[in-house]
């Protein structure tokens, strides 16, 4: 076995030192009825790299990846170009094979990177502080709901109908099994909802997504004021972080907590994970945040260095009183995010965002010219068209031609019959004129 360094002679000599007859006798505490006498039956035996690679490649070849198709899929995961440098750097063993930086003297690489990550997330979201990452955007939203309950001492959250269907499902699951409550506003495909009237003295937070799941853009300032007037928090979800290169930040519109899916920067689609959750808030709520935080300090020689800090909020110290049970988060995906954003920089991100918007506008214009109706007034790189017939069936049919036309709204909101005809279409910098032409041809 290529990953096991002991020779039989090594094992024999080590057993002699221990004073045990065989390896199996070290398992003496295992009850006999559960102690297997040999490898489990019904599973394959060890295989060479050649064989394993062949098997995995065969599985991969049964999929039609987005790069082998025309793809307009979005809906919370976006196909972007990841610069070659990103994947090279995250595969450096010192990043890839290191643990959580609990020993700061020999983890300054990861720690400094996390400090840079937190700073960039704060800047992007327009917030004062950010944590060192969550699993993904969807679970970050669930944590935001819990945090809003802790901060306000209230237990009811109002969830916009523009929030991603999976995120709404997760929040509903959490509410179902805890003392938290959610009020799920009706699915808001047409961007007509007004949540202000629903906010009351029991409202812990109002949670909205911008751009919404259907691509609509909102100025949230008024909603933020309404929340503030009632002592509720405004939680803003961003599932496409590239949009933050072009749109006013949630912080500038008055958000109290911002959660985002960071996949778009540095991380491949990978069939849905692992991704990276961003979590940012106001400084005054810092100690109520979930997850790890990296902070700046000095060493014994007075030199600047970084450590994990404020860890008394976390499970390993607070145990049942922790702000969250999260432990492992998304370190390597956060690194990919940070490197991609470092390469882009201020102007690069703005250009990328502009390019995404332009491609989406081109796509929308072409579809409109072909007679389709785009329902959005404003959008960033994702918008919704009304096909006038069920979208899912058409999407399935087009997939046979290797055209991934978009996400049928019914996939995210199966209970909302009124969205059955809606198709959510995303364009990115990877969208070509030929892709747009083909989409218009098959949808017209």
């Amino acid at each position: 076995m290529r990953y096991l360094p002991h020779s039989d002679a090594d094992r024999a000599s080590m057993l002699a030192t221990i004073g045990a007859a065989e390896v199996d006798s070290l398992f003496a505490d295992v009850p006999d009825s559960a102690h297997l006498k040999g490898p489990i039956e019904g599973l394959p035996r060890m295989q060479s790299e050649i064989e394993v690679e062949r098997h995995m490649s065969a599985l991969a070849s049964r999929n039609t990846g987005t790069s082998a198709a025309v793809s307009f899929l979005g809906g919370g995961a976006y196909r972007h170009h990841v610069p070659a440098a990103v994947d090279h750097l995250i595969q450096r063993g010192e990043f890839l094979t290191s643990y959580t930086p609990y020993q700061p003297e020999i983890s300054q690489g990861t720690l400094q990177m996390l400090f840079e990550f937190q700073t960039m997330v704060s800047m992007l979201t327009g917030m004062e502080v950010a944590n060192a990452s969550m699993y993904d955007g969807s679970t970050a939203a669930a944590e935001a709901m819990s945090m809003a309950c802790r901060v306000t001492g209230r237990n009811k959250s109002i969830i916009s109908g523009g929030v991603h269907g999976h995120y709404r499902d997760i929040l509903a699951t959490q509410a179902k099994w805890t003392t938290q409550e959610v009020l799920l506003a009706p699915v808001d495909a047409q961007d007509t909802e007004d949540l202000t009237a629903l906010i009351d003295a029991n409202t812990a937070c109002v949670m909205v997504q911008n751009p919404s799941s259907f691509g609509h853009l909102r100025d949230l300032s008024k909603l933020a004021e309404a929340c503030q007037a009632k002592g509720a928090l405004l939680v803003v979800i961003v599932t496409e972080v590239v949009s933050l290169g072009l749109l006013a930040s949630p912080g500038s519109m008055g958000a109290d907590i911002v959660v985002a899916e960071g996949q778009s920067l540095g991380n491949p689609l990978g069939f849905g994970g692992p991704y990276v959750g961003l979590f940012a808030t106001r400084e005054k709520y810092m100690r109520q945040m979930p997850g790890r935080l990296c902070g700046e300090t000095v060493d014994a020689n007075g030199k600047r260095g970084f450590v994990l800090t404020l860890s008394t909020r976390e499970q390993h110290i607070r145990r049942e009183k922790a702000t969250s049970n999260i432990c492992t988060n998304a370190g390597l995906c956060a690194l990919a995010f940070t490197i991609h954003l470092s390469l882009l920089g201020e102007q690069g991100l703005k250009k990328l965002a502009l390019l995404n918007h332009a491609k989406a506008v081109q796509t929308a214009e072409k579809l409109e010219a072909a007679g389709l109706r785009v329902i959005n007034t404003g959008f960033f790189n994702e918008f919704t068209v009304d096909l006038g017939k069920p979208a899912a069936a058409l999407v399935d049919k087009l997939a046979e031609k290797k055209i991934l036309a978009g996400v049928p709204a019914s996939r995210l909101y199966p209970e909302a019959k009124e969205v059955e005809n809606l198709l959510i279409i995303a364009a990115t910098e990877l969208t070509t004129d030929a892709d747009i032409y083909q989409l218009a041809e098959v949808l017209k």
């Binding site: 076995m1 390896v23 102690h35 394993v52 995995m56 599985l59 499970q315 390597l332 201020e346």
Partner: protein, 525 residues
């Protein structure tokens, strides 16, 4: 007040620590050890590390929103970015550079074939919301890994979507909560039994779901007795959360009796699978009476820790918990695979609901399946055997010079306490920092909490005999130096690292969580 402390210093003692007597250099670099400023301090406005095609001229359709304000991101070209992160990487200890004996963390070798497989076209570029007809290979891959996990544990079902161990715990405890509610006992079964030696995520998870945590003590041999569990079992108990092998590195001898008692009392047995690496392929948790166990793919199945994630925490479930598995899950009918994504579908009628966006940590599934296929059932048998052999080999040679709280064979990790440091003036923390100077990442320390000044050493199966012999040599030498009164040597450690001991007190008293143009961050090293 509740006194929860092991009293270790968190600010360096300046009198003894400042012994870094290497001469200063102009820029602070020391040969191959580079000082590296923050990225924000290296910005050269007007440069960019990515060239993009020009955006076509279109009429903006952003409409309502005001414009983006200045973000503040630094601007650098690709060479600067690559050098920056390469230099940062060189300040990290890693499995690739040395033995990483972190107990209960299973820092084993991360095969590079795993990495290569995740990057295959057809996997890396697969969108989670594609029609199922275009993702049959991916669904088959999830199905195959699920089959491995079920066969290795003997359990009939597995929930694949949890993102990490703690998330898996949340999933498993929710399934238990749902099963209890289904029986009409939601109001009465409100307690969860958790041994004092448990990992902090256990009580945190139980509490987050509204359960009251009932602690149970271990006996003098570091194990929980069935009698102790029976004494707290009753109609008000929902579950027990037990780690096996436990956090002291010991197999719970009474585990089958405990499981039977728990079941007889109408409660459920949650097993924390963090230490599954000791028994994988040799003991099936189903044969121990477990109802539910999360598996850390980033521990037992070699997916990289990546400086703190991502992980993956699939949860295997017994027959009586299987109906409550979260969505989504894969169903295979004939040769066709489907994803059940909604609780409105009949297969998911009793499901607890959704816990994560999309379908789980696919990239980790690919790595874990690659690992399973590479090892095979026979390779896994050998791997867990070697992991336990290595830990016992270390224990057998260190037990005479260090102090062992519990006698007898351990499983995959060897536990020591700080009795051997009594009156030396050296703490477990000092000892750990001295290990750093000797080229080792310290073991897990001060955990489990039930042992004073704990040293929890998990070598894993990835280390050669020679590597382990070197490690033992270092540990013996350090133990002797501590006992010989060389406390200053330990207090001054680490000396050979990019930074000396860091002032954690200051970091917590005056938190600085981000760079700002005007803070002390600007002063540099």
């Amino acid at each position: 007040m509740s006194m929860n402390t092991q009293g270790r210093p968190t600010a360096p003692d300046l009198k003894v620590a400042n012994v870094n007597d290497l001469p200063e250099t102009v820029l602070g670099h020391k040969g191959l050890v580079f000082e590296e400023k923050l990225l924000f301090e290296q910005s050269s406005p007007g440069t960019c590390g990515v060239d993009l095609p020009l955006a076509p001229m279109v009429k903006s359709r952003l409409h309502v929103l005001k414009a983006r304000e200045s973000i503040g991101l630094p601007e650098l070209a690709e060479p600067q970015v690559i050098r920056h992160y390469t230099r940062l990487s060189q300040k990290n200890y890693a499995i690739d550079t040395g033995l990483y004996p972190l107990g209960s963390c299973t820092m084993k070798h991360n095969p590079r074939l795993n990495e290569k497989m995740t990057r295959l076209a057809g996997l890396a570029d697969l969108h989670p919301l594609q029609p199922a007809s275009t993702t049959q290979g991916a669904l088959q891959l999830i199905h195959e890994l699920a089959d491995w996990l079920m066969k290795l544990t003997g359990m009939p079902a597995v929930a694949m979507s949890p993102a990490a161990g703690a998330h898996g715990e949340y999933c498993g405890m929710l399934a238990i909560k749902a099963a209890i509610a289904d029986k009409g006992e939601a109001k009465t079964r409100t307690k969860v039994i958790v041994p004092e030696s448990a990992h902090g995520t256990n009580p945190a998870t139980a509490a987050s779901l509204g359960f009251t945590v009932v602690p149970v003590k271990a006996e003098a041999d570091g194990r929980v007795r069935a009698e102790a569990v029976k004494a707290v079992l009753g109609p008000d108990v929902a579950a027990i959360m037990l780690t096996n092998p436990n956090t002291c590195g010991l197999f719970e001898r009474d585990i089958i009796d405990i499981a039977m008692a728990v079941r007889a009392a109408g409660a459920y047995f949650y097993c924390d699978g963090a230490n599954f690496n000791a028994i994988v392929g040799r003991v099936r948790p189903a044969d121990l009476g477990v109802d539910c166990m999360h598996i850390n793919l980033h521990k037992t199945f070699s997916t990289p820790h990546g400086g703190g994630g991502p992980g993956a925490g699939p949860v295997v479930l017994s027959e009586r918990l299987a109906p409550y598995a979260p969505v989504p899950f894969v169903v295979k009918t004939g040769e066709t695979l489907r994803l059940i994504e909604q609780t409105t579908e009949k297969e998911a009628a009793k499901s607890i609901g959704r816990l994560k966006g999309f379908h789980g940590q696919m990239g980790m599934f690919i790595r874990a399946l690659t690992y399973c296929l590479s090892h095979g059932a026979d390779g896994l048998w050998q791997a867990s055997g070697d992991a336990v052999l290595n830990a016992n080999y270390i224990a057998s040679q260190l037990k005479t010079i260090m102090s062992q709280p519990y006698a007898g064979y351990c499983m995959h990790e060897a536990l020591f306490d700080d009795t051997f440091l009594k009156d030396t003036g050296v703490t477990t923390l000092d000892f750990a920092k001295a290990m750093i100077d000797e080229g080792y990442h310290p073991m897990t320390m001060y955990f489990p909490l039930v042992v004073h000044g704990a040293f929890l050493i998990e070598p894993t199966e990835s280390e050669s005999k020679q590597a382990i012999d070197d490690f033992i040599k270092v540990m013996i030498s350090l133990a002797k130096r501590a006992r010989a009164g060389e406390a200053d040597h330990f207090a001054a450690a680490p000396r050979f690292t990019p930074r000396a001991r860091l002032d954690e007190t200051r970091a917590a008293r005056q938190p600085v969580l981000r760079w700002q143009a005007s803070t002390l961050s600007k002063s540099g090293g």
